[in-house]
C-alpha cells in the first residue's frame, strides 16, 4: 500500500491585466496530476522545459501554493495546511536541488548545514548531533574534516552529495530530486546516481526523480510519468514507457534522444523525422481543440495514456 | 499603454492625499504661526488674535485641513499668509525659474557623466578610470551647500566672473538677446555646481554597466562576426549600457528638486527651493503644503516617466 497519494494536484498562476489589474487568465502550470508513492521505489517525472515538472516537485514539498487537489500522507491530509515546523510530513519529505551551489548558504559550514534539519526535527544533544553529522558524512563518502569547510570548497559532485546528506539527515521516506545531476559532468553524474541508489537500497527511500534526461530516468526509475503542458501524457513502468510508448509525445521524446551508436544514426534520423511528421499530423488524436492533454486512460493495470479511444491490450 | 498611464495617475491621488495629510499635520506642529513674526513690542495683542481668528487658525486642525483640502480639490491652493496672494501665482512664477535651473543642470549632468562613465568603463583600471572614480567619490562626499558656498565665494565675489544672486539683470529690456543671455548667465554657476555634484550615481552606474556589458555573450558574438572593436563598443556595448541610464532620467527630477533647495538658497536664486525654505521660516502653511504636494507629484511623475522611457528603449519591456 502506498504511503502517500497525490490527487488531482493543480498549481495555477493568475495572469493579471486590464484596467483594474484583475485576473484575466490562468497559467496551468500543473493541471491535475495524480500519483502514488510506494516505499523504496523511484518515480520519474520527465518532460521538456516549462512542462511543469519542477513546479510539481515544489508544490509537493510546499514551496508552491497548491490551487486545488490534495496530498495525503499516511492517511492524513497535508495539502497547503499550516504544518508545524517539525511535522512528520516536513521531516519525511525532503528535496535535493539541481544547483547545489545556490541551495546552500555560502556563509555556513558544512556542519551547520547538515545540523539544520537535525535541529529542526529531532531533540539530539550536541554530542549526538555531532555523531550523526559524522555518520552522514560517512554515508555520502566524505571525510570527517569536511564538516569544517564551506560549500564553495567542494566540487560540484561533492556538493551534490552534501545536498543528499542534508536530505537524508532525518531518515526521510521520500526525496524529491529536481534535476539532481543535470549540472554535473558525466563521470561525476555516475558517482551521484550510484550513490543515490546505494542509500535507497540501504534505507528503503523513495525518490521522485525529476529530469529532462530520459537516459538517466530510465537508469534510475521504476515508474515513469511523461509530462506536457502541466499534465501527464503517459504513465507506466519504465519498461512500458520505453518498450511500448503509446502517446505521440512520448514517441517524439524517445526518438529525439541521442544514442551512442553512430552506425545506426541514419536509420534513427529517418524514424525521428517520421515521428515528427506524425506528431504534426495527428495532433487532434492526442490533444483536444484547446491543445490540452486528454485525461489518462488505462491500457494495463500500470500503463496509462492520455488519448481518446486508447486501445487496451498487451 | 494609455490605460497604464491613466491608472498610474489615478493611483497617485490617494498617495498625494496621504502625503498632504502628513505634511499638513507636521507643518501645524511647528512652533509659531504666520503672525508670530509680526509681533513687536508695539503690536496690539488683540489685533494679532483677531488676525488669527480671521485666518481660521483657531479652528480645530481637522476643520482647517478640511477647508484647505476642499479648496485644493477645486483647484484653489489657498492664499499665502506672508504674500497675501494666491499660492498658485507665487509658485507659478518661481516654478519657471526652477525649471530653467533644473533643465540646465540636468543637461550638464548628462554631458559630464556620460562621457566620464563611458571612458571609465572602457579603460577599466587605467589611470584615467581611477581618476574618474576618485572624482565621483569626492563629489559624492562634498555636501551641496559647502561647494555652493565655495564657488559663490570664489567665482562670484573673488573673481567676479558670475553674478551672485537673482535671475536676470533688471536693467535689461525683456525679450532682447541680452536679456536671455543674462538669464542664462545667472543660472550657469548654480547649474555647474549642481551638475558637478549630481554625476556620481550616473558615472558609477554607467561604468559598471559597460564593464558588465563587455563580458556579455552578445559582445563575443559581435566579435566573432569580425566587427572592429570600435564598432562593437558603439553598436553593442554603449547602447546596452545606456539603457538603465535612460530609465534613470525620470528619477533625476527628484534629485534636482531636492538639490534646488540648497542651491537656490545659497545662490539667492528665486525658485521653488528658495521659496520652500522661506515659507518654512515664516510658517506659511499653505505654501509649504502646496510645494510638498507639487514635489510629491513630480516625483511620482518622474517614476512613471522612467517606466515609460524604459518601455520605449527596451523592446523586452512592454507596458499595456
Amino acid at each position: 500500500m502506498s504511503f502517500m497519494q497525490i490527487k488531482d494536484l493543480c498549481v495555477h498562476y493568475p495572469i493579471r491585466g486590464g484596467f483594474f489589474n484583475t485576473v484575466v487568465d490562468q497559467v496551468y502550470a500543473v493541471d491535475g496530476i495524480t500519483m502514488e508513492f510506494d516505499k523504496g521505489k523511484t518515480y520519474g517525472l520527465v518532460g521538456e522545459s516549462g512542462c511543469g515538472k519542477s513546479t510539481t516537485g515544489k508544490a509537493i514539498i510546499g514551496l508552491e501554493r497548491i490551487t486545488s487537489g490534495s496530498i495525503i500522507y499516511e492517511g492524513e491530509e497535508v495539502t497547503n495546511q499550516r504544518r508545524k515546523r517539525n511535522s512528520a510530513y516536513n521531516r519525511d519529505v525532503q528535496m535535493i536541488f539541481q544547483d547545489s551551489h545556490s541551495s546552500m548558504n555560502p556563509r555556513k559550514r558544512v556542519s551547520d548545514i547538515l545540523a539544520e534539519p537535525i535541529r529542526n526535527f529531532t531533540n539530539m544533544t550536541p554530542d549526538e548531533e555531532r555523531r550523526r553529522i559524522n555518520e552522514l558524512l560517512a554515508i555520502v563518502g566524505m571525510p570527517e574534516d569536511a564538516k569544517h569547510k564551506y560549500p564553495h570548497e567542494f566540487s560540484g559532485g561533492q556538493r551534490q552529495r552534501l545536498g543528499i546528506a542534508r536530505a537524508v539527515a532525518c531518515n526521510p521516506k521520500l526525496i524529491i530530486a529536481d534535476e539532481p545531476v543535470s549540472a554535473l559532468d558525466l563521470s561525476v553524474q555516475a558517482q551521484v546516481l550510484n550513490f543515490m541508489q546505494d542509500i535507497q537500497d540501504e534505507y528503503g527511500l523513495s525518490y521522485l526523480f525529476i529530469s529532462h534526461d530520459l537516459g538517466v530516468v530510465k537508469h534510475m526509475c521504476d515508474d515513469i510519468a511523461i509530462m506536457y503542458r502541466g499534465r501527464f501524457v503517459e504513465r507506466g513502468t519504465s519498461k512500458e514507457i520505453y518498450a511500448d510508448p503509446r502517446h505521440i509525445y512520448t514517441h517524439r521524446l524517445l526518438s529525439a534522444i541521442p544514442n551512442i551508436e553512430p552506425e545506426t544514426r541514419l536509420e534513427r534520423k529517418v524514424e525521428r523525422l517520421q515521428v515528427e511528421k506524425d506528431y504534426k499530423d495527428k495532433q487532434h488524436n492526442y490533444y483536444d481543440e484547446n491543445g490540452k492533454v486528454h485525461p489518462l486512460q488505462p491500457i494495463t493495470d500500470t500503463h496509462f495514456v492520455a488519448m481518446l479511444n486508447a486501445e487496451g491490450g498487451n | 499603454m494609455w490605460k497604464t498611464i491613466l491608472r498610474r495617475f489615478l493611483v497617485m491621488i490617494p498617495q498625494l492625499f496621504i502625503l498632504s495629510l502628513i505634511v499638513f499635520i507636521m507643518a501645524k506642529q511647528m512652533p509659531g504661526d504666520p503672525f508670530t513674526g509680526l509681533i513687536t513690542p508695539e503690536t496690539d495683542a488683540n489685533r494679532i488674535a483677531e488676525l488669527r481668528e480671521e485666518a481660521g487658525l483657531n479652528d480645530p486642525i481637522v476643520v482647517q485641513y478640511y477647508n484647505w483640502i476642499s479648496g485644493v480639490v477645486q483647484g484653489d491652493l489657498g492664499k499665502s499668509y506672508t504674500y497675501k496672494r494666491s499660492v498658485s501665482s507665487i509658485i507659478g512664477e518661481r516654478a519657471y525659474n526652477t525649471f530653467l535651473l533644473s533643465l540646465l543642470s540636468a543637461i550638464l549632468v548628462y554631458l559630464i557623466a556620460i562621457p566620464l562613465g563611458v571612458l571609465a568603463g572602457r579603460y577599466q583600471n587605467s589611470f584615467l578610470d581611477k581618476s574618474i572614480v576618485l572624482y565621483s567619490f569626492l563629489s559624492y562626499a562634498i555636501p551641496t551647500f559647502v561647494l555652493s558656498l565655495i564657488f559663490l565665494f570664489l567665482f562670484g565675489y573673488q573673481f567676479e566672473w558670475f553674478p551672485t544672486s537673482g535671475t536676470v539683470d533688471v536693467s535689461l529690456e525683456p525679450g532682447t538677446m541680452d536679456y536671455y543671455w543674462s538669464k542664462f548667465y545667472h543660472i550657469l554657476l548654480p547649474s555647474i555646481t549642481f551638475a558637478l555634484l549630481g554625476t556620481t550615481s550616473i558615472i558609477q552606474y554607467l561604468r559598471t554597466e559597460i564593464i558588465d556589458a563587455s563580458g556579455q555573450d552578445y559582445v563575443k558574438t559581435a566579435r566573432s562576426k569580425g566587427i572592429p572593436m570600435r564598432k562593437v563598443y558603439s553598436r553593442h556595448i554603449f547602447r546596452n549600457s545606456l539603457l538603465p541610464i535612460a530609465a534613470f532620467f525620470g528619477f533625476t527630477i527628484t534629485g534636482l528638486l531636492g538639490g534646488s533647495i540648497f542651491i537656490e538658497t545659497v545662490f539667492g536664486y528665486p525658485g521653488m527651493g528658495q521659496l520652500f525654505v522661506q515659507s518654512i521660516q515664516s510658517r506659511d502653511y499653505s505654501v509649504i503644503t502646496a510645494l510638498v504636494m507639487l514635489f510629491g507629484f513630480l516625483t511620482l511623475l518622474g517614476s512613471l516617466l522612467s517606466d515609460i522611457i524604459m518601455s520605449i528603449v527596451d523592446p523586452r519591456i512592454r507596458i499595456d
Binding site: K218, P258 | Q216, S224, K225, G226, H236
Partner: protein, 336 residues
C-alpha cells in the same frame, strides 16, 4: 599542409591563462586538422580545455591575461600571430561561430535582421537591399517559418530553438568554410536539440564546410560527428573516426567515460565511476600521463614518461601506452 582537403591545421597550440604571476596551460600542445566537408567533434568534461581551444581558434581571448603559442594555419597564414585588425577579416568571413546559449548570445536590443546583417556589412560589398534579401534567404535556409516577420523581431520574442537557428544564420551569413559550434544544443530541449543537430548536419553537407563541434555529450557526438577528438586536462588523449571511437575506444579515459553513461539498457547496473576529480588548472600534472592519478590500480610502469599520441589503427591516435594494459578496477587482471 598535406592534401587539398585540409581547411584548418592546428599545430602545437597552447593557450595559457595568467593566474597571479604565472601562466597555466588550459590547452596544452594540441594538434588537430579540420578537413573540408566533415564534422570534427571535440569532446570532454568541463575544464578539459575544449571551449578554450574554440575561443583560441577565433582569437577572442583577452591578450592581457592569455598567452597563445603554436600555429593555426588557414590558407597559408598563421592566425596566432595575426593582429586583432587582421583577425577581424577572418572572423565572420572565414570562420563562423555558434555559441551555447542563444538568448545571451544575441543582443537583446537589436532586431534579428540587424544582427544577421552586421557581418555582411563588414565582409561584403552588398548594398542594403541585397543584404536584406540575403538575411531573408538565410532565415529560410535555417528553417525559420515566415522570415520577413522574424527578421523584424527581437530575440526575446523567439523560442529557444528559433534563437539557435538565428545564431546559425549569423554564423553562415558570409558562407564561411569553417564553423565552430561551442555546445550548440546544450541549452535546448532534446526534441529541439535533434532538430538543430539535423539542421547543422544538412547545412554542412550543403555548403561542404568543415564544422568543429565542441560538446560534452557523447550522444551528440555519435549523432553527427565524422571524427572525434577526446580531450582531458588540456590535451587530446584520443582521436579517431566516429565509429572507431565508439566501437574500439582505447584510452582508459574514453573507455571510462563511455562506461559511465546511463544507457537505455543499463537499469539497475552500477555506472562506472572515475576515481578522484579532474585536476584544476593550477594542479595539472606537468609531466607524465595526466590520467594516471585516476587509475591508481594500473602499474605506473605502463605509462610513458612523456606521453605522445600513437597511431594504433588507421587514423586512430591514443596518447600514452597505458591503454595496452588498462582494465577497469573491478575486472581484475589484464583483459586487453
Amino acid at each position: 599542409m598535406s592534401g587539398a582537403n585540409e581547411l584548418l591545421e592546428i599545430k602545437n597550440l597552447s593557450t595559457s591563462f595568467r593566474i597571479k604571476d604565472d601562466f597555466f596551460p588550459a590547452v596544452d600542445d594540441v594538434s588537430l586538422t579540420l578537413k573540408k566537408n566533415e564534422i570534427l567533434a571535440i569532446v570532454g568534461e568541463s575544464g578539459c580545455g575544449k571551449s578554450t581551444l574554440a575561443t583560441s581558434i577565433v582569437g577572442l581571448h583577452n591578450p592581457n591575461n592569455t598567452k597563445v603559442t603554436g600555429e593555426i594555419n588557414y590558407k597559408g597564414k598563421n592566425l596566432v600571430t595575426m593582429t586583432d585588425e587582421q583577425f577581424n577579416n577572418v572572423r565572420g568571413a572565414d570562420i563562423g561561430f555558434i555559441f551555447q546559449d542563444p538568448l545571451s548570445a544575441l543582443n537583446p536590443l537589436m532586431k534579428i535582421e540587424q544582427q544577421i546583417e552586421e557581418s555582411l556589412i563588414y565582409h561584403t560589398k552588398l548594398a542594403k537591399a541585397e543584404r536584406q534579401a540575403r538575411v531573408l534567404q538565410l532565415l529560410e535556409q535555417v528553417g525559420i517559418p515566415n522570415p520577413p516577420r522574424v527578421a523584424q523581431q527581437f530575440p526575446h520574442q523567439l523560442s529557444g530553438g528559433m534563437r539557435q537557428r538565428v545564431m546559425i544564420a549569423i554564423a553562415l551569413a558570409c558562407k564561411p568554410p569553417i564553423i565552430i559550434a561551442d555546445e550548440p544544443t546544450t541549452a535546448l530541449d532534446v526534441t529541439i536539440q535533434a532538430q538543430i543537430l539535423d539542421l547543422l548536419k544538412e547545412l554542412q553537407a550543403e555548403t561542404e564546410s568543415g564544422i568543429i563541434l565542441i560538446t560534452h555529450d557523447l550522444g551528440v557526438v555519435a549523432e553527427v560527428a565524422d571524427r572525434v577528438a577526446v580531450m582531458y586536462a588540456g590535451q587530446v588523449i584520443e582521436e579517431a573516426p566516429v565509429v572507431e571511437l565508439f566501437r574500439n575506444p582505447k584510452h582508459p579515459y574514453t573507455r571510462s567515460l563511455l562506461n559511465s553513461i546511463p544507457q537505455m539498457n543499463s537499469e539497475g547496473d552500477k555506472l562506472n565511476v572515475i576515481h578522484g576529480i579532474v585536476p584544476s588548472l593550477k594542479n595539472l600534472p606537468r609531466t607524465g600521463c595526466r590520467f594516471s592519478p585516476r587509475i591508481p590500480w594500473i602499474d605506473r610502469a605502463t605509462h610513458e614518461d612523456n606521453p605522445t599520441l600513437h597511431e594504433v589503427a588507421p587514423d586512430h591516435f591514443v596518447r600514452c601506452t597505458c591503454w595496452k594494459t588498462f582494465h577497469f578496477e573491478d575486472e581484475g587482471g589484464s583483459v586487453q
